[in-house]
Amino acid sequence: MNPDIKEKPNQIFSGILEEAQRRKNEFEADSAPKIHIGVATCGIASGALETKKAFEEALDEQNIKARIHTVGCIGHCYAEPVVVIDYQESGFPPIFYPEVTPGKAKMLVKFFLKEGDPRLEHVLGATQENEMIPSVMEFSRFNQEKRVVMEKCGHIDPEDIYDYIADGGYTALEKVLRRDPVEIITEIQESGLRGRGGAGFPTGKKWDLARNAKDKDKIIICNADEGDPGAYMDRTLLESNPHQVLEGLVICAYAVGAEKALVYVRSEYPLAVKIVTKAILQAKELGLLGKEILGTSFNMDIEVFQGSGAFVCGEETALIQSIEGYRGMPQNRPPYPVHKGLWGKPTVINNVKTLASIPPIIKKGAAWYREIGTENSPGTAIFSIVGNVTHPGLVEIPMGVSLKTLIFDICGGIPNKKKFKAVQIGGPSGGCLPAEFLDTPIDFDSLTEAGAMMGSGGMVVMDEDNCMVDVARYFLDFTQKESCGKCTFCRIGTKHLLNILDRITIGEGKPDDLNMLQTLSEDIKSGSLCGLGKTAPNPVLTSLRYFLDEYEAHVNEKRCPGMTCRKLTAFYIDLEKCARGCDACVGCCPVDAVFTTSNRKKGIDQILCVKCGECMVACPPDYDAVMTVSPPELAPVIERPKEAVEKSK
């Protein structure tokens, strides 16, 4: 390459960088307090927009000048809406406030911004080390995380490209454009990066295959279908830092030799669609996309494609079919998309998180990346952790951290003094692991070996009150509905699995059912065409393996040990604990099944009871008199007094 041209990206980019820095300096030099509000979908769902409005109104009313900076999500879902107030003149460091309702927002403006009192009782911590307020970094939820992909999420404004650039964004692209594409692929190969879409395929190898494919017109697709129930890390990334993903896409296209890329986002993610579309426009305006990127001869365009949101459309061949306008049905592989993909062209399909890992790797080098995580799974893993944990949310940890550390240290363990029972990893395609597996390190191979899988990173934590048969049924219900219907095993097999599980949870399981579940599951796994069918039986197989006793209790004794299967459980009131004269549970029962006994305590009419559990919630914790029992026949019989019977008629 001509040395002049080689220097061109650098020259052009330094102009852009200067402008970004200028804007940042201007923002920082402003002595007005800064209010950073997280407004990704999760924040909005918790009321972040109302909070923002409340701040604006209160600032107006009090006549205070402050700058509101909207940012993406920092992943602490339990604390939404999250606000960071940086008020230097007050002498306090930037402070992290959780659960900022509009009322709290007005209060903070009045007390903190007007009077200088940060109301420490509402503070989670300071976001910088200081002598006054404990730093959030002292919490394990913060200090045990390792942010590579989500590093900038929650700090920059996703709708302002200069925010990303001022924070080091697009420097990786500038660096890449001055290097040989093959070198880039080698660097990614050396980093050991594996695809974060589930299967963990080596990314560098995929790129290399595509680069060497004969056809000239190549296509890159960013897979943001994200259909796992409970998983939302790809959405969060796109909403909180779209440019890191776009930068990864451009680098991939340059390395592979493509000029066209698509971001496949489900249309149920309107905010992500909007933000990515805007980000593409902004990148184009600055010449980071489009024709002659940063003055080189490299052209590239990115389009957004909105998928209709079927889970199976996340499978790469189905995704291609869906873009081409056909039914989203998986195809046999080979041919693999890298050889014959969209419109028959060589196509690289990478997950959002995979692509977002690229800029940091290029910037800091393969060796740096390899230091994070384990030998065979370098880098970080992002999980969305939901269920029975104290601090649910998005967590980015180095690979190799144990499940125990993640669940108990980082996410605060199981609430309400309950016992841990199982964790479902990898969404509906994954498996349930019991307590014996808590020491398992989180990486691609260890999880697969244990019978779960990394999947796309959904994690559901379950306490002792969960019924594992019901959990398996829940996931099967999902996959069964999401089966595309193409191949025999998945289309019909999952339906039978679900029917059998349904039967077992209502106490109609037959002795041979467990055998049938096992063999049918094995056959569906080996016989199905695509990954959906091949993994759909995992929740059944793992729960059979680790919680067989629960299945047996359901089938043989018609008993649900987790006391969740309604047909097999009864609610009753412990007369020893019930407080005479208390009426707390009476009104909440939707079917008037609660009655007053002759000595003014309460009883439950087992015939009327629909087992909604409302009375259990209503009973004051001091009494805690509502009990569950399985099988239901074990519930003590309490006669309804005559007059009560009359009255209920």
């Binding site: 195809q331 089966s483 219907g485 191949c487 019909i492 049918l520 080996s526």
Partner: protein, 211 residues
């Protein structure tokens, strides 16, 4: 030409042939429902055509594998038969078995497979789950029987091939998937009067000409 060994019998076929075609050409029957010779790529949806290749851990579908020189293949290992029987029982669990009243009787592919696999057509292992609609009579000259159909897709393929655009397509998803005559309203607007392709290709008699 490529030489391979199937169940100890040496066969020779053209390079690039799929294993399924190679076997069928040499009179080695392998159960199959969705394979059509003229298709460029097999849809591989019926999951019946499993065979075992030496060196491979698990059975593979023979319609998606190309022959290679000196390949050693078995068509009847326990693992192969287990998968085939399992897939076949699944299909039968959604199939209304009523051979006497079915036009496909005696030429039905399911009867042939049942014989080979020694699985009774009235399987008992799985619960029978039939669709509510027994016959879709919406087409002016054709009837469709969802509880006969094995969703092999051959009818859609031949219709597309014959008429440039398919009158029939798959509709709904998952377990509810059916073949449907979308918008086939008026006989004058569709080629079906003079064409019989789908009726002829259907391996199980699930599409019939109206009486």
């Amino acid at each position: 030409m490529v030489k391979l060994l199937v169940d100890d019998k040496e066969i020779e076929v053209k390079k690039g042939t799929t294993l399924l075609k190679a076997c069928l050409e040499n009179e080695i029957y392998i159960p199959n429902l969705c394979y059509l010779e003229e298709m460029e790529e097999s849809v591989a949806s019926c999951r019946m055509c499993f065979i075992a290749i030496e060196g491979e851990e698990k059975p593979v579908t023979s319609c998606t594998v190309k022959v290679t020189d000196n390949m050693i293949v078995r068509t009847d290992t326990p693992a192969v038969r287990r998968l085939q029987r399992s897939a076949f029982r699944l299909l039968l669990s959604t199939h209304h078995v009523d051979c006497r009243n079915c036009p496909a009787n005696k030429r039905c592919e399911l009867q042939r497979i049942a014989k080979l696999l020694k699985v009774g057509l009235k399987q008992k292992k799985l619960e029978q789950i039939l669709k509510d609609t027994a016959i879709d009579e919406s087409h002016p000259c054709l009837d469709y029987f969802p509880n006969r159909c094995v969703l092999c897709g051959k009818c859609i393929y031949v219709c597309q091939k014959q008429n440039g655009k398919a009158v029939i397509t798959f509709a709904k998803r998952g377990f509810d998937t059916v073949v449907s005559f979308y918008g086939a309203g008026d006989l004058s607007a569709i080629p079906c009067g003079a064409c019989n392709s789908c009726v002829e290709i259907c391996p199980v008699g699930a599409i019939t000409k109206k009486a």
